[in-house]
């Protein structure tokens, strides 16, 4: 006897599910009872189950996706207006209650769990979203001809930095966007040089191009927000004839979560996160901002880091502050820092065991930033290797001690570096002749640690010659 108010029954099943096979007699009972008011959707084999004559082919999974089926079998009871209830797997009492059939499935066990719906297969959700959610993405769709190679097509359309990119298919972009809660149509800001509005979706597309995994997207989004901070002066940095481009240093728990390299060869090739996160920002500036070399990018030579320049800090020494802490963040914060810089210059010191000696040697090398006669022009990052850090730590020095000692070692009498001094026309304006100068402006020298545990080599990342308020300053952005 049917005591339920439900007058429509829907069941979703698949052949490759023992529970669905088990309930075949139940489905037959339901067909007898509900006749043309029952719909049985089959996800994998439209011929299953053989004893049921009328069933619906859902091999496209359109119905299952639209109705958020997660487990088969799923029983849905509804009336003319709305769904009244649903149950998953075989639970005799629930099926009886929902259908109102008190003797349903008399011969069967009371309970047997179901199987995963085909909509839950790995990667399927994005494929189905791409197929059935037409309004999810707003970007212009570019349909390739049968004869076109996907990667060559990206080159042909000017989307590449010169290396192959990952073709930004709809499925890949949806997969990328799943890594953020932010709406695809949210505008993150205007991207220089053309200052055109950029949505989260466009960032995701360029992250796909760059080769990012979806889990890198929050870092890429933070890098874009950092680049858009006025202090960073991305527009000027892009246009300059100088070498510089954005250099990214990542701090905090995100480093281990996404597997960034802060060890051996940290500034080199070989780590997907380091490589593709740095590249994503550059591609975004190219593609959304319109910043193309030879166009508005007028760099005399550029530098190889303009493909990508991103690394993580070695944070293994808890008593040595990381860059984010130096900028006011907590050690537990994940932060990306952007610096307008270029190149890498080695500082070899395999002999110093006293911090004073090592500091003096490092300072001597730092004097070469831009050129040895320019003071206060360009900022710099000193990249201290773990072995050099050990020299400081064993002597009880903190990073602040190093910073202060470097400051003292980087003073010079203006008369030594003014134009004409040392028979070199270049140098500081003559008005600095009687002044005492420091190599770096206040807050112009940053110190980070990265690299493998063997090798007494530190390094300098020189900054843009237009550093400071007149140009670019190091910026930090918390990764959400």
């Amino acid at each position: 006897m049917n005591q339920s108010t439900a007058n429509r029954i829907t069941v979703v099943i698949k052949k490759d599910c023992p529970t669905c096979a088990l309930i075949e007699p139940v489905l037959a009972e339901l067909v007898d009872e509900f006749e043309n008011r029952i719909a049985i959707y089959v996800q994998d084999d439209p011929a299953f189950p053989q004893s049921i004559r009328v069933k619906l082919d859902d091999t496209s999974l359109e119905f299952s996706y639209a109705n958020k089926i997660e487990i088969v079998p799923t029983l849905i009871c509804s009336n003319d207006e709305e769904e009244l209830g649903r149950t998953v797997g075989w639970d005799k009492s629930e099926w009886r209650q929902l259908t109102g059939l008190t003797n349903l499935g008399n011969e069967l066990v009371d309970f047997k769990p179901g199987c995963g719906s085909k909509t839950q297969d790995p990667g399927m959700e994005e494929i189905l979203a791409a197929q059935f959610e037409k309004d999810l993405l707003q970007a212009r769709k570019v349909e390739l001809a049968q004869s076109e190679d996907e990667i060559e097509a990206c080159f042909d359309r000017g989307w590449s930095d010169g290396l192959p990119v990952v073709p930004p298919t709809v499925v890949r972009v949806i997969r990328m966007l799943k890594a953020t809660n932010r709406a695809p149509d949210e505008v993150i800001g205007n991207i220089p040089p053309n200052n055109l509005p950029c949505t989260i979706e466009k960032v995701a597309i360029n992250a796909v191009l760059a080769g990012c995994k979806p889990e890198y997207l929050p870092v890429v989004l933070a890098s874009v927000e950092a680049a858009l901070q006025d202090k960073f002066c991305m527009h000027g940095l892009l246009c300059t004839t100088y070498f510089s481009g954005p250099v990214m240093i990542v701090n905090g728990p995100v480093i281990k979560k996404i597997g960034m390299n802060s060890g051996v060869n940290a500034l080199g090739q070989g780590n997907r996160a380091n490589a593709s996160i740095g590249r994503a920002l550059q591609l975004l500036i190219r593609n959304v901002g319109g910043g193309v070399p030879g166009g508005i990018d007028r760099a005399v030579m550029g530098n190889p880091g303009k493909y990508t320049y991103c690394f993580a800090e070695d944070e293994s020494d808890e008593d040595w502050t990381n860059l984010a802490q130096d900028r006011g963040y907590e050690r537990t914060d994940s932060v990306i820092n952007l610096f307008a810089g270029e190149g890498l210059q080695a500082i070899v010191d395999q002999q110093s065991r006293a911090p004073e000696s090592l500091t003096k040697n490092i300072a001597n090398s730092l004097r070469s930033v831009v050129n040895t006669k320019m003071y206060g022009a360009a900022d710099a990052i000193l990249v201290v290797s773990p072995e050099h850090r050990r020299v400081f730590r064993q002597a009880g020095w903190t990073k602040q001690d190093l910073r202060e000692a470097l400051y003292d070692n980087l003073m010079i009498a203006g008369s030594e570096v003014i134009r004409g001094a040392d028979d070199i026309a270049e140098g500081m304006p003559v008005k600095f002749k009687d002044k005492l100068l420091n190599k770096f402006r206040d807050d112009g020298l940053h110190i980070v640690t990265t690299g493998g545990s063997a090798g007494m080599f530190s390094a300098i990342i020189s900054g843009w010659v237009a550093s400071g308020e007149k140009g670019s300053q190091l910026v930090s952005q918390k990764i959400q």
Binding site: A139, K141, V142, L144, E150, L196, I205, T240, V288, A466
Partner: protein, 93 residues
């Protein structure tokens, strides 16, 4: 090889080619702005340009960006657009 669909990574708003603004037909009687971008020797270069423009009958107004490294402030752009018929930006190097 494929018939796949890709999503455009560009801003899409960009026209295929940017169109130039209509050119002045004569400099005689026109007001021409000279924008010094604050690079060394910009003044000498623009002094020379000014001399030629005045000979051609133009009125010249001089402007200066606070720093070459950053884009001109919007107020300055607006001031030039209000006061001038054309502008010459004194690029350097």
């Amino acid at each position: 090889m494929s018939n796949s669909i890709m999503l455009d990574p560009t801003a899409e708003l960009d026209p295929v080619e940017k169109q130039l603004l209509p050119r002045l037909e004569t400099l005689s009687g026109a007001t021409v702005g000279l924008l010094d971008i604050s690079k060394p020797r910009g003044k000498e270069f623009l002094d020379e340009i000014e001399k030629h423009l005045v000979e051609m009958g133009a009125t010249v107004k001089r402007y200066m960006k606070p720093t070459f490294a950053r884009v001109a402030p919007q107020e300055l752009n607006q001031k030039i657009s209000v006061e001038c018929d054309a502008v010459i930006e004194g690029l350097a190097d």
